[in-house]
Symmetry: D2
Subunit: 332 residues, 4 copies
């Protein structure tokens, strides 16, 4: 089993999905031990820091990658299993950015109101105690929250030669900002270009569903993952599997469309796995779907649709790939 | 403690929020033991039954109520605690309706495509075993699902003299179709008219988040609830509290607006309970919000925003009303 | 030909569609000479006036009506021809209202930003010169604009016993706020209740398409109109015909749905008038549709779809009703 | 004055905004005489032709360009004046494509319904008579429509290194599909990259506002245009000026956001030209805006906002650039 360690220098950061030359070639079955900087490339560190002064806010979510997966061809399915996602720092940062976020007019939902104030919060991360500490800006509140690390961005190169900002989630994955992208999960992505060219980044020590203000507890991450490849079977939208759930993640605007995409993809997935007709799968999903919002802040919004495996008859998605990768991970 | 039993005859069914004379007067603190018919008034019973043939599909969700709560005035807060919600039948029904549902063009999202087929599913409900059994229409699949009863509609008379269909969720509650409306929950609704005029209905033996096809496992319900009243403090949107979560429920189109309403209301609620400024509460909610979609099918879509109490410092919403009602319920 | 004159006293103003007893009974073919107060019932008169101080802003658009049309039954089509719509005052008023309008967060599209300032503009109306004069608040700009009077609200009682605020546009017409509702136009509305119960109001000395800030040049109006009735044929959405165009008006949120509704209704109308199949009518409309936005500010947004009659083969909508009413109007 | 003639070979067609090497360098002030193929690269010619069989429908709107404008730097404003846009063929074609268009579920607004039928219409174009003839597929209707040629796509390379499909409209222009892009108009686009890298394509012999089915009367075009450059002043969104109107074009989803963007940009433009405060410009625009929908079918929807110059005090946008280019054009 190949084990590849890689931590990019700032010059090696990737700032797009597509349009970037691969940083490494990896074989299916490889283990990657990666480091990924935070969404602001570490430039926000103090409650007095302001993103609009310290960086070009059009460039966020520096990626570790892209990786060229040998043998991956358009129409194939990339399987990315996250063995561990652990903070690489003992602090994280969040902020409000002018005209960005879910509860403000934005550059896309333009209003004439004054922007909300730009403020920064610094969180303490205690990986041993598994806590993230919120400190209010305007009062003395100090609240310990569970550490629940995740990756905001996991994506491949888009189809049709498009190059998209690392702020964008879409069919190629990208900045989905779903808390479901945690250790123990396997993400399935359709391959659009030779080598797939996947990358990861935007680590969050924790994040609420919807990511209301647009910025989670941003921190650098150490990520151990296993890369595998399934020939053919490319899903229309990103899928995630963990021990308890099958999930699909749709992205679009309005949120209605993100949800619709995830639902329709799940109906197709369930129908195929269970050998069930479209209308029956629609009916079944109506009664068992979990539908947490992922993000309401990015250029596309994202919605996850989850189905608990224990509600379903026994089935093996992608030939048991998730279980296979869990077992490999356990042996590391 | 007053105990009021009431099961409406078909002539007594309520078909709107507002515009209906009260069926009973109740004092705050009363216990209600109610029966509520299913969304189709029991007219769909067989997989061969078709709603479009058997009923006027513009009239669904017959209400039990409205109840006039003594002393309730505009600006007050009604507290409805659900002690138990139990199926009153051993079967439930679901269906697709032409041009209704989340994954089809509808009368509001008009397209030129042919409608999906109209199909009906009948579920077996085993209250002792706590199961609901799905039987596929086109194949032999038979899947046992957990019984998780809930009420689709809980609402008061709207403000401004409006009269709304029982299909509609809005600031007055109504057809929110959130699985959070289950036994053990307390729903807080702002009072718009003297007496509040609340009603309940649309029992679901279970429902997925989003209610994709538009119809859950519809069944008649026996509901035991306690009604209480808080003077003043009317929330802008419905709120729900249970032992583990504070919740707000926004409704609107697109789903974005439902989510925004619920988030903004939660920020105001948290800020008030914790004595925290708006921007700090926005930041905190960003990291702790749970955001399950409630319905993507009704005239307004609905989204719940949940905050786990164990993530927050100790606080008592509405003076500890939920705990008080839980204790009363335990003594019944 | 009956000629009915009516100017309501403030106690007679109608504040809803549906739920109000008829103020007069009229026979099809009657001429009505009506006066209608402005959207604020005349309470805003000076640039220093503030709606939020002077009135309950939930109550706007006082209606003149409702009128009971003899013989009108559900499923029929009401034809309302506007012979003249002329300002009844030499001034009009516009204003911004907190959290209302197209370019601000609102009560339905909730954000955390501060509201825009509440300001009032007073316009001079010169009916002889056919001008409306804009005077800037913060500078010396004074701009003469053409007087182009129209009615913001024209509606009937909703179906299903609903009662809706006079702020709402929907299938029953209502607060569509389209500049197409001008003298010379015939509005066709589906009848939902016996007598139709139509009303008019919300006169605008002029209004841009979209009504960005939410408030046009509001003024009282003298309206001469002819009421007629077509048995059957109720359209799904309001339709308007003038000498040059056939029009449909859809309402909903987001604006996408308003446009879709108007397009689908126009395809059905064109198909029926021309004897053309659905796909051909869709294709034809694709190349000839005019699509002005009506309002982006009300509880539902509205979009008009227009087809120029001179692009079409000769046809007579509703048996030539518009031409008939034009001739009657010419004879008044 | 440089005069550059260019007609691309199929190998030279551009299939994206950004990511393509310039085909020519041009100096500001140059005249370009261009030929542009139709949206389907001429592959649909008969009513029996089906796009899904004859081409990769992900690749439409082949561009003529991109052109590198000497001296153009990020933040500058490119002025593109269309002297003439004339059909290069005596036929045009339209079609329905499965899961594409405004009145059907799509790949972005996913539903479970069957797609609409895929049909093709061939139009006769008579440039001398200025007519476009519609021939129905299912009946004998034959309708002569006015020839009103326009360009669906006019765009520059996007910011941030993005590469976007030629199906997409956004801040960089692109596939806006607005009938306002006709001969006599000047389009202003913000420059994002050195040389601007603009291109044109997607000629329509005519198109309705909204482009309901997603495909106009597609035909190859001969285009004469003048290219000029204004240092600085890059607008946030594309702007268009003709002899009668100032226009802005916003794009986004839902259509609400496209309209909002165009409105806010127009308010800034008007405010600057007239020396008027934001709130006064908002008020003025409320009463004078024309708001035709451009497209409801592309990955972003587009809305134009128009202001008639004759309603405004005398002013000169961009130092009178449009008038200057009109005069140059008259001298060709």
């Amino acid at each position: 089993m190949d084990v590849i360690e890689f931590a990019p220098t700032p010059e090696q950061y990737g700032w797009s999905f597509g349009g970037t030359a691969p940083i490494r070639r990896v074989r299916p079955g490889s283990v990657l031990q990666l480091w990924s900087d935070d969404a602001f490339a570490g430039r926000l560190r103090d409650t007095k820091d302001r993103a609009s002064a310290l960086l070009d806010t059009r460039y966020t979510n520096p990626q570790t990658g892209p990786f060229f997966v040998e043998g991956a061809e358009p129409g194939d399915t990339l399987a990315l299993h996250f063995v561990s996602i652990e903070p690489a720092r003992d602090w994280g940062v969040s902020t409000t950015l002018p005209l960005f976020g879910g509860l403000t007019g934005t550059t896309r939902t333009a209003t004439l109101q004054d922007p909300l104030p730009e403020l920064t919060w610094v969180y303490e991360i205690d990986s041993a105690a598994r806590t993230v500490t919120f400190n209010a800006n305007e009062s003395d509140h100090r609240i310990l929250l569970p550490l629940e690390p995740m990756l905001g961005t996991v994506g491949v190169a888009p189809e049709r030669g498009e190059v998209r900002s690392t702020a964008v989630p879409d069919t190629f994955g990208g900045n989905m900002d779903t808390p479901e992208m945690r250790a123990g999960a396997t993400c399935y992505l359709g391959v659009n270009v030779e080598g797939a060219l996947f990358s990861i980044g935007d680590g969050h020590a924790r994040q609420g569903e919807g990511e209301s203000c647009g910025v989670a507890v941003e921190t650098a991450m150490n990520v151990t993952m296993i890369v595998d490849l399934i020939k053919g079977g490319a899903p229309a939208w990103p899928r995630i599997e963990d021990d308890r759930h099958l999930m699909t993640v749709g992205s679009g605007r309005p949120l209605d469309d993100a949800w619709r995409a995830a639902q329709v993809d799940m109906i197709g997935w369930l129908g195929g796995l269970l050998g069930m007709g479209k209308m029956d799968a629609y009916q079944l999903l109506t009664q068992i779907s979990e539908s947490p919002i992922a993000n309401m802040v990015d250029p596309n919004f994202s919605a996850a649709v989850k189905v608990a495996k224990d509600l379903l008859p026994p089935m093996r998605a992608y030939g048991g790939m998730h279980q296979h990768l869990r077992e490999l991970a356990a042996g590391l």
